[in-house]
């Protein structure tokens, strides 16, 4: 888990909105994205960008980095869908190239399919990013607790969340200690430093685990992990209205698309 991502989720400007409101909004958008056509996908994606970057105040560089990361991964897998190989390219192929006695080609239908997948992924990624970047994990878990999911699951998620950062901190502190003593000067040194780091991490994690088990006992562990959290959220009419109006517009847009295109 990325610490910067987490920091942004805790510091974003939409933090005071109830997480339920944000989650419900995102859920509706995801459903819309499942049924609509590429132009509406793009509308969903750009609208989410407005929410994430302008309303929530997530730095656009960071956001762009995340989107590009996912997109580059997606594009490479799309290449496999677009390009086909057969002994003879079909008639509707847009483009073909002879190879190994057959033809590698790109068909119209495959291209359409690829565009569809790409735009839908773009819309759903933007929606997911909106949630990840504006709802801190601990608050997400509180919402999960209200669902019929077993509480043990949400408890475990919360504990994992805490320990992931503990581990990350240990790893980071070892790495910094090694760096400060020149452990990564050459490639060979770096290699042995990394292996030392991993061994140390495992060892220290085991010790940490024992220590934390003691700490949890000392605090009266009672077969269950239960916490209380204040919920100083304010439902916002302004954002509520925008999300409802926007969703209606998207649906209308889709209807027009189906009628006229």
């Amino acid at each position: 888990m990325n610490t910067q991502l987490d920091a942004l989720a805790y510091g974003n400007r939409l933090r005071t909105l109830p997480p339920e409101q944000k989650l419900f909004f995102a859920l509706v958008l995801l459903v819309i994205a499942m049924f609509v056509h590429p132009p509406i996908h793009l509308a969903v994606g750009s609208w989410m960008l407005v929410w994430t970057v302008f309303y929530a105040g997530i730095p656009w560089r960071f956001y762009l980095g995340m989107v590009l990361g996912v997109m580059s991964f997606l594009l490479t897998s799309l290449a496999a869908i677009i390009c086909n190989f057969a002994s003879l390219a079909p008639d509707d192929s847009l483009w073909s190239w002879p190879l190994w006695g057959g033809q590698i080609y790109m068909s119209m239908s495959a291209l359409q399919q690829a565009i569809e997948i790409f735009s839908r992924s773009l819309a759903s990624t933007a929606t997911l990013f909106f949630i990840i970047l504006t709802v801190p994990f601990a608050e997400l878990a509180v919402v999960l607790e209200k669902t019929p999911l077993p509480t043990i699951l949400t408890e475990l998620l919360l504990l994992c969340y805490r320990f992931i950062f503990l581990l990350a901190e240990v790893a980071q502190s070892i790495a910094i200690a090694q760096q400060s003593r020149g452990g990564y000067r050459t490639r060979r040194l770096a290699l042995s430093s990394v292996s030392l780091l991993i061994r140390q991490l495992i060892q220290r994690t085991a010790i940490r685990y024992q220590q934390i088990a003691l700490g949890i006992k000392a605090r009266g562990f009672n077969q269950e992990f239960r916490f209380w959290q204040s919920q100083p959220y304010k439902y916002s009419w302004r954002y509520g209205l925008e999300s409802i109006a926007g969703c209606i517009l998207l649906v209308i847009g889709e209807i027009f698309y189906r009628i006229y295109v």
Binding site: R162, R219, F225, F227
Partner: protein
């Protein structure tokens, strides 16, 4: 309630796989309702004593009593024991479990099955007492070490135990936060809670504590009123843990002055005496 809250008799504990006992033949009595300090060199067994006192380590020998009742190691006794004895670890990471500050403070309260409203009230009050209200919704991994330390102390104090064991509470704290913590500890002590603080800060012990335990090599060396303990420590030059600054300055004053005045316990008291000299 007896005069002594916590008592150990002939306690011995060896960590698994360790060659030597960390604590051996340890006996002492802790008077109830007083500000007490535990001092001794690194590795003398202070933290181990705390683990034993909270029932987290099971001694191989000896008995531990709270209010005259012997500690037994069944779950029910342990649960009740740990409701009365709070332990703040040396390393705050060791006891912080929840994702955010306020939820961590609520953890021990939720374990006691208190009603939600009561939990919420106590969390809010504790946050205010420890100047943590602004950090309430921050995740723990975004805090500095000193802030984590305060959260770990607050999480224990929210439970209002009868006895609080604090391992190096002022470690990592800046001077302002140290002063705030001491004020808060004084408030807690005034409400009748017994505090036992393990520390290396002898100046703090000298000015704050009413009762002092000195450990050496896993057993008790001295126990008693603060002044009496430091007087005896001075007669043990082979046992090196240093002396409080006020005490050292006091020792440089002429014998006649020392005969005429009581030993000063604070900078202010010392200043009054030295001003008289000038």
């Amino acid at each position: 309630m007896s005069d002594y809250l916590l008592e150990m008799q002939g306690v011995e504990y060896t960590y698994p796989m360790a060659e030597q006992a960390a604590v051996k033949n340890l006996s002492f009595r802790l008077p109830s309702g007083r500000k007490t300090a535990l001092i001794g060199q690194n590795g003398c067994g202070k933290s181990t004593l705390f683990l034993l006192a909270d029932g987290l380590c099971r001694p191989q020998q000896g008995v531990i009593l709270l209010d005259g009742v012997t500690l037994k190691f069944d779950r029910q006794t342990l649960n009740r024991w740990r409701q009365r004895v709070g332990l703040v670890f040396q390393d705050p990471e060791q006891q912080l479990v929840a994702p955010t500050v306020e939820s961590d403070i609520s953890y021990g309260l939720c374990n006691q099955n208190l009603p939600e409203q009561e939990v919420a009230d106590r969390v809010r009050r504790t946050l205010a007492d420890f100047q943590l209200t602004e950090l309430a919704r921050r995740p723990l991994h975004h805090l500095s070490l000193g802030q984590k330390k305060r959260v770990s102390i607050a999480g224990v104090m929210a439970l209002r135990p009868d006895l609080v064991l604090l391992d190096e509470p002022t470690a990592y704290l800046d001077p302002v936060q140290t002063r705030n913590l001491l004020t808060e500890l004084d408030n807690i002590a005034r409400s009748g809670t017994t505090l036992l603080i393990a520390t290396h800060d002898l100046d703090f012990v000298y000015q704050w504590a009413e009762w002092v335990l000195v450990m050496n090599n896993g057993s008790l060396l001295l126990e008693g009123e603060t002044l009496a303990v430091f007087e005896q420590l001075q007669l043990l030059p082979s046992f090196e843990i240093g002396m409080p600054l006020i005490w050292q300055i006091w020792q440089t004053l002429p014998a006649k002055v020392r005969d005429d005045h009581q030993v000063p316990r604070s900078i202010a008291e010392l200043a009054v005496i030295t001003n008289l000299l000038a």
